[in-house]
Symmetry: C2
Subunit: 434 residues, 2 copies
């Protein structure tokens, strides 16, 4: 059985590799034609897609999902309309392939151009989210990459129906049907075999929870770009505008607690803690956020009139933090709070405890801000803005395939350009090396 | 024992991580001061370095090395002089850290800068080559990365002596001594433990033979940038200038057969094969190159007057190729030869059999050249020049840490810039996300 699965994924990867070579040189118009056709096919296929999705939702696997996972699995007419819109938006994005990155003529006359080209074959490993099937397929297609998709088993029928539309769109536009392939099984052994095909697949992007990403990173011999957790910090400096700090803290934590760019950690400079913390605590509690406090911040709340903070204050609104809270990605309405003695202590704490995703300082002191921006070793470092802006759309990239928490290749939001590599084109007149 | 080694490399990696945070923001002058001091220390320490090297060369491990490996392990006064020169050359290279890569102001007023920053902690795994110890340490230092070095056991005493000079140079320049660390054991278990420290080490670069690189790639949970083999092609097109084609073929094969950018494979368009192949065969044989021929090229030689080719022709100069020869990195005075029917057949052959390192077309037909440049999926694609130019110095990068055969992060020659990642610095005025 395992040998059969290995043979199945190997054959699929070989077809993907062949398709990638063809796709690397097709004109933008052909790729856009396939995208336009796909959007039309999605519009015309609501009944079939909703039926496939209903079959998934009725399965025992789907019954075992959490309410939020089940919600992400569910398609509706409105969501299908949105999906078609997102496909049409990718048509409008510039094609990154062929961009001239550098150009030089060497003293020996060699003319060297460094140009952007597709990576080749990209494997996307994700959970039970049908929108990821389409998002990843279209971003890989537009950037000239063949993709191999392996979604969660709870979503298998929906993905199969979507993949059929993608294949039809590719064929209609004269592109290789193998440019986007869904692995036709959710057997874990097939995934394991896939992750070893390093001569055929050039990059693996896992999208999902920590255990999925760890499994992929530990079992893949193919380079992996991880989209891992965000343990993001807001540091309120001694020189912060406290009203701005409150607005940024509440936005970073409460505007979408399930996002990886949401703040999980609040650091407050000791000199403003007594004034700032009771006010922001009230605002956070008003947004149903639970505070997990160090002893210093807890003491400040104890000394203030808690009931004056907010009528919603309850026993569960405020709790002492455990050591684990200081490095936890809650993805929930919880924030851990610490008082720090200095800017340098804040920087050291962030560099030790954050996931190097998105961290912010609020301060009116430019030199403190410059030091923070330089010394905090994270993909995205903010001065006087919410961490929630770490996002491909907010950066002006258009769609994103994710937010890389790795340092190699792509760091932070990954758009079409980050789905490319480069090659050197060198033109001579017969040069040989002495 | 294994737990002890794990503890040893973990502690070493923690110190490297701390050093990397300090090193990321030090001024260029401090890094250059450390480099200058190191060059002076090398100049002043010939006796001690040669003594350590003699101890290595006298070991049973060194006795087991091949003649060429033993040569690479050996230090001489001339080589130490060259080593000091190479350190001083890195002083003259521009510091890549802080380069502004992109800058934009979003409609909401957020000012986004993408700036080049060090990767962090880089692990270099290599064989018994003392020059690699110094080359990698200084390139990592200049690019602001802390490095962890693990060289071959045959070179342990030499590496230890060199590492002591590096530590002294760092300390003299006021930089953290832990910025460059040699693993103080060559036990394989220590390497295995190191390759799992993905929360402390950000990148592994293996330099050496295929088995070392495969071991590292298969056992590392840290992202790896491979510097793998070069199965490089020269394709002589129907419209080639045959004198140029001969010069390029001989240079690509024979100027340094042990280099990864040396040609291992020759493809000849059928329309010029009868005229071109006997001539180039004579020139290659005159350079002691053995030809491993497909049936078509063998038939051409059989029909020509072999002894007229070259007086050195012997039975061993020409042999029928085996299938394996067509994908082999000989690293020796051997070249495999095939006749192809068309440009497209040449492109397909290269995309199937090459290692995507460096491949060349020789032709006077611009449209054939443009098609070849676009369709050959290799890091470096040449038109009318030798593959031997794939090299950091030849590209104008100054020193290189290697030639990446991966597609992610760095492809082709890796200089100081490729030892960096980037981060986003975002300045606002209190922006929150709706």
């Amino acid at each position: 059985m395992s040998a059969e699965l290995t043979s199945l994924v190997t054959s699929l990867a070989q077809r993907a590799r062949a398709a990638s070579l063809a796709l690397a040189t097709v004109p933008t118009a052909a790729k856009n034609a396939a995208l336009a056709r796909l959007a039309d096919l999605i519009d015309a296929s609501h009944a079939a897609l909703l039926a496939a999705n209903a079959r998934d939702l009725a399965s025992p696997e789907a019954a075992a999902l959490s309410a939020s996972s089940r919600d992400r699995l569910t398609l509706t007419t409105a969501r299908l309309n949105h999906l078609a819109v997102s496909v049409r938006e990718v048509i409008t994005l510039p094609d990154p392939v062929g961009d001239l990155l550098e150009e030089t003529t060497r003293p020996n006359g060699l003319h060297i151009r460094k140009v952007r080209v597709p990576i080749g074959v990209v494997g996307i490993i994700y959970e039970a989210r049908p929108n990821v099937t389409v998002d990843c397929a279209i971003l890989c297609l537009k950037s000239g990459n063949a993709s191999i998709l392996r979604g969660g088993k709870e979503c298998f029928h929906t993905n199969t129906a979507l993949a059929a539309l993608i294949t039809a769109a590719l064929t209609a536009a004269g592109l290789p049907a193998d440019a986007v392939q869904l692995i036709p099984t959710t057997d874990r052994a097939a995934l394991n075999a896939l992750l070893k095909l390093d001569s055929l697949i050039h990059c693996i992007i896992p999208r999902g929870g920590e255990s999925l990403i760890r499994f992929v990173a530990e079992n893949s011999t193919i380079p992996v770009i991880k989209h891992f957790q965000g343990v993001c910090f807001v540091y309120v400096d001694a020189a912060a505008d406290l009203a701005m700090a409150e607005a940024i803290t509440v936005n970073a934590k409460a505007s979408r607690p399930s996002a990886c760019n949401a703040a999980e950690q609040l650091l407050i400079h000791v000199s403003v803690a007594e004034k700032f913390f009771p006010a922001v605590a009230g605002a956070l509690i008003a947004n149903n956020v639970q505070l997990r406090c160090d002893s210093a911040s807890l003491a400040i709340l104890a000394a203030s009139d808690l009931s004056a903070l907010n009528s919603q204050v309850s026993a569960s609104s405020i709790a002492p933090a455990t050591p684990a809270d200081y490095t936890t990605e809650f993805l929930d309405t919880i924030i851990a709070v610490r008082v720090v003695d200095s800017l340098e202590a804040a920087i050291a704490t962030i560099n030790r405890d954050s996931s190097n995703h998105s961290d912010a300082i609020v301060t009116a002191d430019e030199s403190a801000a410059r030091r923070f921006l330089a010394a905090v070793d994270s993909a995205t470092v903010y001065w006087n803005a919410s961490t929630r802006f770490t996002d491909g759309f907010e950066f002006g990239y258009g769609a994103e395939i994710g937010i890389s928490t790795d340092r190699l290749h792509a760091r932070g939001p990954m758009g079409l350009r980050e789905l490319c590599t480069y090659k050197f084109l060198i033109e001579g007149t017969g040069q040989t090396r002495s």
